[in-house]
Symmetry: C2
Subunit: 327 residues, 2 copies
């Protein structure tokens, strides 16, 4: 007898698969109308809603040899929750469009649903999957839209940094990039194709780095905390501190000078979804934030490190940055 | 010299492609924060927001020989606008996650953006694309999330139909299905593969049916009109009147009896995204709605036609329903 988890999406059909997913996700908490009608209705008491969407695609964004269904559900939730937090908002709902090859197992999709659920309950209590869409596709694709509320606070844009502000970070900078480097360096076969991860061969520090890559845990609750503390600018670090600080500096028409003690991976590593914030001088940094630089009048460059020009590329590319010189 | 429209997404890069898309979409009208920050902020004055998501995937949902970029943009907007209208709500924003093969031409994506824009301006004035996401994928995928507001009205669910109600429809029932039938019957090669449509060979009526399939124009504005007129139940007809009326009847624990004069394609044809509504007896139907049946106490069956049991399958499948007996 075949275990029911071994059934494929194609064999099971959309209706039965949806029932299994909904059994895992449970009842949405904020929706007046839950899944099953044409749309969900959410309460947003202060009359403003924050909306963002981000997609993970098999191939460019993940490899199934490296990521479990749970990992993918967790990460696809986390990166969208981070974009809501990066406005100073509190996430209340996710909407998930899943495009699945027929050969995908039901067990994989159920694990993905658990990852979505657990990311919400761990990173953004009160947030839940309130709706979605299932379609067939040759390419596994997870498109998530996250909805947030501001609870009366003003949204914090990336354009508000002012000379004299303290630049601060909450969350991990280099860990996710080190984790990706581990995957590229240690878990590929002779042809360069990904092979499953054996965590037994990893040190505790390496496991933590891998977890930061596969199941990032951005400090979602600190988004509204930064807004309430008077942050002048806020964004999440998705492409590396240097590159994202450049975006913030350009949007704010200022120069951001970063601490010279930050190492190369902390400066260039992406995907950690730490929160990058600016606070007016004299504001006590909220717990969880650490200073990493300061805002100056715009000089020629958007970003400097220890007052010095940054040479070379700003972002992180594991193909280029990690593998070069290692064959 | 190669025309700039011939550039591919892979050659152009995400940033340049996004600039072209944003130039077509223009400024969002409802967003306090437009595209470019981590998320959009929308005003929803009555403290409730309606959210729905629906995806079009190359292969199962469309063929590039039959649909232009404009068609796909228009349709992906229309089907999501219809789900918002089907709650009795007014759409205010779309968020669009595009997953594009590198070989997609920039011109195709720009046409898609025009289709999104024109569907909003034609079907839901005031609604605009307020954000989105671009990723690379082997499979062209358009995941749209639509956001709506209720303007103080109560959302109209599919579960509120009561015995004695008049069942009414606004919008086209069979046209989109006839259009799909035309594509399957007239625009495939000897191997059954789709070939480009030559509209010159079609009659005016056939062109209208084809347009209903490729660029559906659901009566979005009639959703809030139905809600204001006291509709007890509301949904859009995406899988055929018989099947969707069954869903409404089941959700309402009632039986819906449909008019025996409806023809087979009107009863079973899907994808038209007409609005299916129930109104209390004695309510004057809002302009644009026509009666198609009545709600009765639940008998054994969810749906009857002219009081009679419906035999055979309820939904529309062009492979089965249109091609059978035609080779």
């Amino acid at each position: 007898m075949i275990h029911p988890r071994a059934q494929t999406v194609g064999e099971l059909g959309e209706r039965a698969l949806l029932a299994r997913i909904l059994a895992i996700l449970g009842d949405g908490s904020h929706a007046r109308v839950g899944p099953g009608d044409d749309a969900a209705v959410l309460r947003v008491p202060d009359g403003r809603v924050v909306v963002t969407t981000d997609t993970l695609v098999h191939g460019p964004d993940f490899r199934l040899a490296w990521s479990s269904g749970f990992d993918l559900g967790f990460k696809s939730a986390a990166v969208n929750l981070a974009d809501v937090a990066a406005m100073g908002a509190r996430p209340i709902a996710l909407f998930v469009a899943l495009a699945l090859p027929d050969a995908t197992t039901s067990g994989f999709v159920e694990d993905l649903a658990r990852g979505l659920r657990d990311a919400c309950s761990e990173l953004a209590p009160g947030c839940a999957v309130e709706g979605g869409d299932l379609t067939a596709s040759d390419t596994l694709t997870i498109a998530v839209t996250a909805i947030g509320v501001l609870d009366g606070l003003s949204p914090v844009l990336r354009s508000g940094a002012r000379p004299g502000d303290v630049v601060a970070v909450a969350g991990e900078l280099g860990a996710a990039a080190r984790g990706l480097g581990l995957l590229f360096e240690r878990f590929r076969d002779g042809s360069g194709n990904p092979v499953p991860v054996d965590v037994e061969v990893l040190t505790a520090a390496e496991r933590a780095d891998l977890a930061a890559q596969l199941r990032p845990r951005p400090p979602i609750a600190l988004g509204p905390v930064a807004a309430a503390a008077g942050a002048t600018a806020l964004m999440d670090v998705s492409d590396g501190l240097l590159l994202d600080a450049t975006r913030m500096a350009d949007a704010s028409r200022a120069t951001i000078d970063l601490d010279a003690r930050l190492d190369a991976v902390d400066l260039r590593g992406g995907e950690g979804h730490a929160l990058l914030a600016c606070f007016p001088p004299g504001v006590a940094l909220p717990e969880g934030f650490r200073p990493v630089g300061s805002v100056r009048e715009r000089s020629g460059e958007a970003v400097t490190v220890g007052g010095e020009t940054v040479s070379g590329h700003l972002g992180w590319d594991p193909h280029r940055d990690w593998d070069s010189g290692r064959g």
